[in-house]
């Protein structure tokens, strides 16, 4: 796609008739980066200074170059192109690479696929050139060749050397200095370059020219950074016409889930996390993700989890394709048939409920409390995943704990007759409570091994004396006092039921 930086910008119609260019600043010099065909016809070319360009073409509309935004737009176009193949990569600055091996028959052959792609790009008003070749480098060169032989250039694998022989060496993606150097030697076309001895080329220009030739002719594999590797467990569906109604989306999800679950069941695997990606007409690809606590390939259950999140998908102007991928899977054998009415410890409905809630509220919102080996009341309970094995709790009758524990102990005004005794009355949240019965103290010291030593505060300041008190109404409180050496301070840390 020539002129991508200018094409990706939408312009009001009246601006389309004026020459446009983007400008970048290179070492304090403002230079043109990309020019539109109109500007090129007026005699402008990239790398001209802006002042010069303005002199040649006074009506030039100048836009700042934004390479990052260009790349992002290209990436979203590549994501859109995943409707054709799972392997679609942006090729900055202005190209896309699609690996259509094994996908073309879905569209009725390579030519039909290319025609479909061309028609859709036409609808986006994107001028483009397409080339199909056995190697990415050959396709790259053919798509950018000056005189394309038709709307789609297509060569058969193995014929790259013949097809590229007449093309200029600049199309091998060599840098300008190297191209100039080769040209000084009289080498202009790829065919001439290919006839040179490899060792001679390597000695003079380094490994790059021969490597590029090998890439183009399929003698060496060219690495391509695909933005998203296809998942081994994935189901996809591309639509002839974009869909958008919630019913259609739900039905698509059901079909994809059934497809994927059939394959998972055949492979004796279950999914533990699923991502459904919807590729929108405008290139955006909103996705919903769900996770399950236990691996599952039950299509109804997974579809229900996914459907619950479907309202988050904005179909925009329509959705072109949908992909459901199981990002993580785990082995899931069919359950052993039981001999008697023995039931498993974790009944499947519980896992389903937990999954529903975890996907709705977030995985951190559900937990099973487990005892923790610590005397610090705040640390006495930890959180396990809800389907974890039930931990063993033991009651310590000597250390009864409140049923409500405040995250932050609340300061209270307490009156104690003797420093070492429970208070006779205290004021909490504005109300006065007269103590009628109390037990204590239970002394709990800080876990000094958990923190770095701090000499500014004596260790005695971290010792809490806890009392269980009951007021005249019968309400029970868990109070503590700190400050063994100075003035005691009282706090309310919890309430008994």
């Amino acid at each position: 796609m020539p002129n991508w930086p200018l094409l990706r910008l939408r312009h009001p119609p009246d601006a389309r008739d004026s020459p446009r260019a983007t400008v970048e600043t290179v070492r304090t010099v403002r230079r043109l980066a990309a020019v539109c065909p109109l500007a090129a016809a007026a005699g402008l070319a990239p790398e001209q200074t802006l002042a010069e360009a303005r002199a040649i073409c006074p009506g030039l509309i100048v836009l700042d170059a934004a390479p990052a935004a260009d790349r992002a737009a290209l990436a979203s176009l590549a994501a859109w192109a995943e409707r054709y193949t799972p392997l679609a990569a942006p090729d900055p600055p202005d190209g896309l690479i699609l690996d259509i091996t094994g996908c073309e028959h879905l569209f009725g052959g390579e030519v039909a696929l290319a025609a479909d792609l061309a028609a859709r790009l036409e609808r986006f008003a994107l001028p483009h050139r397409l080339a199909i070749a056995g190697t990415p480098a050959a396709a790259w060169a053919l798509a950018r060749a000056v005189a394309p032989s038709g709307p789609v250039t297509r060569i058969r694998p193995g014929t790259e050397a013949a097809a590229l022989a007449a093309l200029p060496i600049a199309l091998l993606r060599l840098d300008a200095r190297m191209v100039a150097g080769l040209r000084r030697l009289g080498l202009r076309s790829i065919g001439e370059l290919a006839r040179q001895s490899r060792s001679g080329l390597a000695a003079r220009f380094g490994p790059l020219p021969t490597l590029r030739l090998d890439h183009a002719f399929g003698r060496a594999e060219e690495p391509i950074a695909w933005p998203r590797l296809p998942q081994p467990w994935e189901a996809r569906r591309a639509f002839a016409e974009p869909i958008g109604t919630p019913d259609d989306l739900a039905r698509t999800l059901d079909q994809l889930t059934t497809d994927l679950c059939d394959r998972l069941a055949a492979g004796e695997r279950g999914a533990t996390s699923l991502v459904a990606t919807f590729i929108r007409l405008d290139g955006a690809h909103p996705a919903i993700a769900v996770a399950t606590a236990l691996p599952s390939h039950d299509p109804q259950r997974l579809a229900r989890l996914l459907r619950e999140k479907l309202p988050a998908i904005d179909p925009g102007f329509g959705i072109d394709a949908a992909i459901l991928a199981a990002e993580t899977t785990a082995p899931l054998r069919p359950p052993q048939s039981s001999l008697g009415p023995l039931s498993l410890e974790t009944t499947p409905p519980l896992a389903a409920t937990i999954d529903t809630l975890a996907n709705r509220l977030g995985p951190a919102a559900l937990w099973r409390p487990a005892p923790c080996d610590s005397h610090i009341p705040e640390r006495a309970a930890t959180r396990l995943p809800p389907l974890a094995k039930a931990p063993a709790w033991e009651l310590d009758p000597s250390a009864e704990r409140p049923i409500r524990l405040f995250h932050r102990p609340e300061p209270i005004e307490a009156t104690a007759l003797v420093p070492d005794e429970p208070p006779i009355q205290f004021r909490w949240r504005g109300a006065l409570h007269r103590v009628r019965a109390a037990t204590g103290p239970e002394r709990i010291a800080a876990e000094w091994w958990r923190r770095t030593p701090d000499d500014s505060q004596p260790e005695t300041n971290r010792i809490r004396d806890y009392y269980r008190v009951e007021d005249s109404a019968g309400a029970r409180f868990w109070l503590f006092r700190i400050g063994l050496d100075g003035t005691p301070r009282w706090f309310l840390h919890g309430l008994f039921g």
Partner: protein, 253 residues
């Protein structure tokens, strides 16, 4: 179905009303004391329905005594299976449940964002049938959400509890009528002190509303003391004089 011929007009009406409510019989959980069980429809706390537990004053903010009483109930009426405790606040301290005979290992705690989410989550849990009982702490409970919860309870016979709690002191303007089968009002009561030490927890338990039963008020004491095989987690210490209503207001339902 051959029904016994009702003799009195009241019995006729009651039978007709009972036929209007296709309630699945899930049994009852007896308090083990005739003074309480006689007030409840079917002679005990009905299982597989929605109950509402509230407290007044500062307890409406902290929900401590209501949680303690609820822990005793759960220890008795749902001795096995998972219990979901759904609340926006995370101040429930699992070790504090042990003295009431409730094993926190069966607990699944769910933190929600607000009352609406609590009610929706509670309904999901009740409707799934995978829990032995489910508790939702919420301040707001309208007539329609309560009705939905009650229907969700009936589907699989999961017992549901709504613990009314306003952690930030936002009291509802008035007591909204709800679809819960029973409504309890819990307040602390002075315990029997032993040598100036607090004794087992006691509550002033008010049965404010019971569909098909009568109201009552008692002092109950927790007897569980952490023993899972205790005969009964609650003991009725005394019956309190019924509230102003001179004649027990009998409601059929």
């Amino acid at each position: 179905m051959p029904a016994p011929i009702p003799s009195t007009p009241v019995a006729v009406l009651r039978a007709r009303l009972a036929a209007l409510h296709p309630r699945v019989a899930r049994g009852v959980w007896r308090f083990g004391d005739a003074r309480v069980d006689d007030c409840l429809p079917g002679g005990g706390l009905p299982l597989g329905v929605l109950h509402e537990i509230a407290a007044g004053g500062i307890e409406a903010e902290t929900g401590a005594v209501a949680a303690g009483f609820l822990a005793c109930l759960l220890a008795g009426l749902a001795p096995r299976g998972e219990i979901f405790w759904i609340a926006p606040m995370t101040d429930l301290h699992p070790p504090g449940l042990l003295p009431y005979g409730f094993d926190p290992a069966r607990l699944v705690q769910v933190q929600t964002g607000d009352d609406t989410e609590t009610l929706a989550t509670l309904e999901t849990v009740l409707r799934s049938g995978s829990a032995a009982a489910a508790i939702g702490e919420t301040g707001r409970l309208g007539r329609i959400p309560a009705r939905r919860l009650q229907l969700a309870c009936l589907k699989y016979g999961t017992t549901g509890f709504v613990l009314r709690r306003w952690p930030y002191g936002r009291h509802a303007a008035g007591e909204d009528p709800t679809a819960a089968v029973t409504r309890w009002d819990i307040a602390p009561a002075p315990s029997a002190t032993i040598d100036h030490d607090p004794g087992p927890a006691r509550w002033r338990v008010g049965l404010v509303h019971a569909r098909g039963g009568i109201e009552g008020s008692w002092i109950m004491e927790s007897t569980a003391s952490g023993d899972p095989h205790a005969p009964h987690p609650l003991r009725v210490v005394a019956e309190l004089a019924a509230a102003p209503a001179a004649a027990p207001a009998r409601r059929a339902g």
